[in-house]
Structure formats: structure tokens, C-alpha cells
Symmetry: C2
Subunit: 367 residues, 2 copies
Amino acid sequence: MVGMRDVAKRVGVSVSTVSLVVNATGYVSDEMRERVEQAMRELDYIPNELARNLYRDRTGMVGVIVPTLRHPFFATLVSALQGRLSRRNLQTLLCATDDADTGEAEYVSRLRRHMMDGIIMAAHTEHPAEYWDSIRRPIVAFDRVLGDTIAAVRSDHEQGGQLIARQLLDTGSRHAVLVGGPRKQFDDRGDGATTFPTIRYFKTLEQQCDAAGIRHEYVESGAVSDVAGCARGVHALFDRIESDARGGGSTMPSVDAIVGSDVVASCAVREALSRGIRVPQDLQVIGYDGTYLADCAGMTLSVVRQDFDTLSERLADHIVDAIDHTGDCASAGDHAEDSHIAGEPAGHAVDIVPVSLRTGDTTRPVA
Amino acid sequence: MVGMRDVAKRVGVSVSTVSLVVNATGYVSDEMRERVEQAMRELDYIPNELARNLYRDRTGMVGVIVPTLRHPFFATLVSALQGRLSRRNLQTLLCATDDADTGEAEYVSRLRRHMMDGIIMAAHTEHPAEYWDSIRRPIVAFDRVLGDTIAAVRSDHEQGGQLIARQLLDTGSRHAVLVGGPRKQFDDRGDGATTFPTIRYFKTLEQQCDAAGIRHEYVESGAVSDVAGCARGVHALFDRIESDARGGGSTMPSVDAIVGSDVVASCAVREALSRGIRVPQDLQVIGYDGTYLADCAGMTLSVVRQDFDTLSERLADHIVDAIDHTGDCASAGDHAEDSHIAGEPAGHAVDIVPVSLRTGDTTRPVA
DNA sequence: CTGAAAGCGCTTACAG
DNA sequence: CTGAAAGCGCTTACAG
């Protein structure tokens, strides 16, 4: 490996001088700079960031922990996030907990040892808030609550639930099936705050349906990383719907709306089509997320769009903030006992990004 | 940051001793080890890999460059790859060229500066083989030829083409439409070798169709990262097929088979269903890739499956090999001029992984 | 079995 | 404007 020393030797100067021109800091005569730069080119010199980072105690990398990449939601999120981070000259170290047999704890441990500047946490965690506090590294949570000292970013799922409820109401749906993850995620974690905000749109939707007199039921569709399982779940759901209809002596199922992730919605549309159920006349389908899947479904799905660009931008903002302030707070971090003093809501509040409803071909026009 | 020195101080020993127990190398008395470990626990000591890596000249990270994550193929690949690398204690640094405004060249430059142990290249490159040689870091190419000194891994696309041709022939299809990327990718790059092997399955398929007397045509569907564009392309294709049929005075289109990526196939199935074209009776659809998309299409897609697990395993194997041999070859690398001497096909040959045909509900049974 | 010393490749005050 | 020196946190021979 050719190092700074080699460049210095070639030009006949000290390494300090080479360092100065590499970093474009301090004063170097134009002629000197030119000679050094040429030597670097000739030797194909690559600055070793490792050494640099060791000195600066900064790596320019952030760890991103997601459950899986085999789901369009997280693929889209990571994609947008990596782009945003790259723009700020931050590299993305990817960790997927469900796709590898490496657990969240092991990943976090590695990320700490590798001196990541920050960690963006978007996967399920079994750790208590104390654990995350003890990491002593900038952390931003996505769609999760990791404790009230840790910044978090998420979509406005309550708004999402409302948009869907409104749509169902305005288009006259009377019986909706909501398809989502394991219902136990709905439970609070004792401390009053649910750690998994995504389910909020279901809760909101259910409340609004109750208020509007729309019948609704919830069906579990398996873990998020199991797309095929989700497809099977939707298939089974349609079997049941049709058999219910026959049992009731009716030709049409009473279910007239299905709400779920893009994946669910996508499956639902196709199930309906292949069974001769007309979309949206007989059945409305509304997706949640608004990933690319919503656009390659043959029919344009009606979806609540999460704003991936803004979400990523915010995540990047927060992590950069946290990194920049990490030096100042270093001493403050020592007396962890009395940390809950004033309250810095700026960094620790949950940053909520609006969603929007895109009406496609799978919902009826509003009367 | 609490360092080794702090631990040493607390126990009252030298840093060397602490280092020994951290690395579990050399001889340390059990009592000493116990005391040191306890101190590490008490202080929540985290070894700084940066320093360690600087000394060892190894980071335990590999850079993975893909065009996009917003496509199930690359999402699935990266997912499998990250898992495999993680098992070998290698971290994955993710770079997506189409999803960020960071070009391939810039990414490679960053990866070199950050001293990645290796680079896995799965994106398009405009660089000539000489460039890749000059990187002087372990590189493995995926589905691409980066020059004959660089190891490559890919699926057996010729076999894929054959499997599809066989299927079409055995089920009596007479007119197939192949939907794929820009046709100019088919062209060789002067040096005789195509740099983009994926298209080989189309070439093989076309040859076999010609031999079997199956009519075929090729339709471009836009860039790989543009899933929505792909959906529009398929839509337009169906419009044309139907209008052709009407123009010909026929009620049924002459096209009776569509072949393309999972995304294309997925769109095609839905387009067909919503237009009343029966799948597979009137139209067979065969997907290429075999990602999760093939399983959440309502109908189980018939697909040629790329073996992502094996592909990833091989990529990991090759990069680990290259990394392990990087020390030995350091000197050998100097006389790059006379590198083409004997030929080390072991490392440089293209590693070809078999594919398989899964027949689902979108093709007819073989007579 | 343990400690003092040199070094990994770079940066940054501090002298000249 | 440029060089000698100390240090980032760790590892590894080499003495004791």
C-alpha cells in the first residue's frame, strides 16, 4: 500500500506537507501543492480513512438495522435512506435481522465496535429503553419508540387511518376487512407507549369505522418478512369470504373492502380478479405504504402513500444532528443519573411526517 | 470513550495484558483474565475496531454496489448476500447507483479510501477492464464481466433460456413476446465478451424458438430500476396485442406467451386477467428471477428461479478467497505487465450457478 | 505469565 | 510556508 510517506519521499518533503495538501487545510505554496498532487497521481495514492478516522474518532458511516429487505417497504426505505445519507457523505452499513441469522444485539455490538457515527433502528427490538440509552451513540428510531430520550421518525399513521376511513365512508363501503401483522403488536408495552406505531393506523381506522357504523374485522397475515405467507393468508381470506357468502345464501360476499399493506392489497386485487369479483365495483381495495408495488399491479392501486423521501430526509437530519452534537454532549453524558432534567424535546420528540391518499383504480370515485 | 488504557489502569496492569485477554491470544493466568474481564464489564469497554483494523490492514467490511434496491431482484440478492457475509463476520457497506446521485466511480473511490476488504460489483459500469485491475482490491463481479482477471458469478442463463424454450414448445405456444431491458445491452463490447450476461437467456431463447419454429418478438421495457415504467410498458404491450388481434379480424390475439422478469410477468398476469384473457389457457406467462414477487401474484407464477442462496454463497466464497490470498499476491501484483502468464482459472473463471424452472399456475401442463 | 516499546497511517498543534 | 514530534487506540514481537 502506498502511503503518505511514499508520496512525501518522492517529492522530498515531510508527511505533514502532504497531509496539508490532501486536506486542503493550512498554507501550502501553489508550486508545492502541484508537485505533491502530481506525485499522488503518479503513485495512485489513496488516503487511508482508517487512520484518519482513528484520529478524528469518526468513521463517516451509519448502521441501518431493518428486519428485512425482502419486502418492498423496507427496500424502498433503505433505498431512499442510503441515497440521502450518501449525499451527506455518510456511508450505509446494512444490517437485516430476519434475513441473516445475526440477531439485533449482535449487530448493535458490531456497529459499536466498528465505531459507527450513528445507528438508525427500524427493526423490532426486545431491548428495554435503558439498553438504548446505554449505547452512548447517536440513535434514531424509525416507526418505533425506543425510549423517550431517543429521537424517532414515523409517518402520521393516524392521518393514514383517517384517510382510509373517510374514503370507505364516502364511497359507501359497509364491511371492511383489515389485514395486518400479529395482533399482539397492538398491545402497549406497559409503559403506556406502544413501541410499534405502525399499528396506529389500524386503531384509528377501527375507531372511525365504529363511529361511522362500518362493520370491520381484523385478519392476521403473518410476519412482515414473509411475503409468500401473506399471499397465502389473503388467499385463505378470499376462500372464507366466498364460503361465508354461499353459507349466507347470498351470491355476493358481504365484505366490500379490504385494507392492508401494498403487498396485501396487491394480492387481494389479483385474488378478486381471478374469482370474478369486480374491483372496485364489488370490492374496494386500499393499500398502505405506496411502494413501487402499487404501480406494477396491473391496476393502479389506491394507496396511502408514506413519504419515503421526507422520512429518509428526516432520519438523515436527525442522525446528522445527533452526530454533530455528540461532541458537546460528551461531558454531559457522564452524569447519566440526572439526565431527565429540563427536557430537550427538539431532539427527542417523535418527528411525524404526513401521508397522502392516492386514489387509483381499486376504489370507487367519491359520490 | 473508555479505552484499553482505562481498563488497564483500573486493574493495575499494562495495556498489553488487556489486549491479550481481549484477543484471547497468548497466555494469561485465569485470575488475571477474570479481573480484566470484570473491569471491562464494569467500564462497558468496547474495543475500537478502527485501531485494530489500522494495524491489521483489514476492516472486515465489503462494499456491495448494485443499481437499485427498488427492484425485487436486487433486494433479494442483497438480502441473501448480506446474510451470507454476516455469517462470515463481514459487514456489508451498501451502495446503490441509481437510487442515489452518487455515481459508481465515486462509490468505488470511497470504498477504496475506507479500506474495504473487498468489493462486490453488481451494477452497470462504464469503466474498462484496466480500471478494475488497477483497483488493487479483491473484486467479484456479479452477472457482469469486468475483465478476465476478475472473478465473476452468475446464473446459468443459457440453461434458463433453454428451460423456457422447452416449456413453450412442450405446451404448444406459437408466438412469444419477450420483454426485457434496452436491446443495446445485447451488443458485445468489441472485445468479444458481452459485459452483461443476463441477456443471454433471451439470446438462447430466441435461438431455440427459431429452431422450433416459434414466432418471437422482443419488446423493451425500460431500465431495471424503473418498475413503474415497466408496468406501463406491459400495459402498452397489451393494448397493442389486442388492437393487432382486432385488426387481424381475430377475436384472440396471436400472442400466446409472454416471457420477462418477475415484475413483467406479474404485470402481464394482471393485465391479462383484467382484459378477460385467460391465463394460462389463452396466454402463458413465464417469469425470470423467482423473487418473492412470484409468490404474491395471486396466481403462483411459473418462473425460472435464480438460486439466490447459492449465488450469494459463491459471491461470499470468492470474495473471502480473494481477501485471504490478497497478502500472498501483494508482491505478485506488482508486475502487472506480465500477469497473463499461466492462467489461474480457479479465481478468474466465471462461476455459473444452475437455475431451475418452477411451473406454477401461469403455464399449461406439459401434454 | 506480564510489561515496555515500536508501529499501523494519518493529523494537528508547535516551532522554525 | 514547511518540518519534527506527539498522539489517535490498538497489536505484536521482544525482553524479563
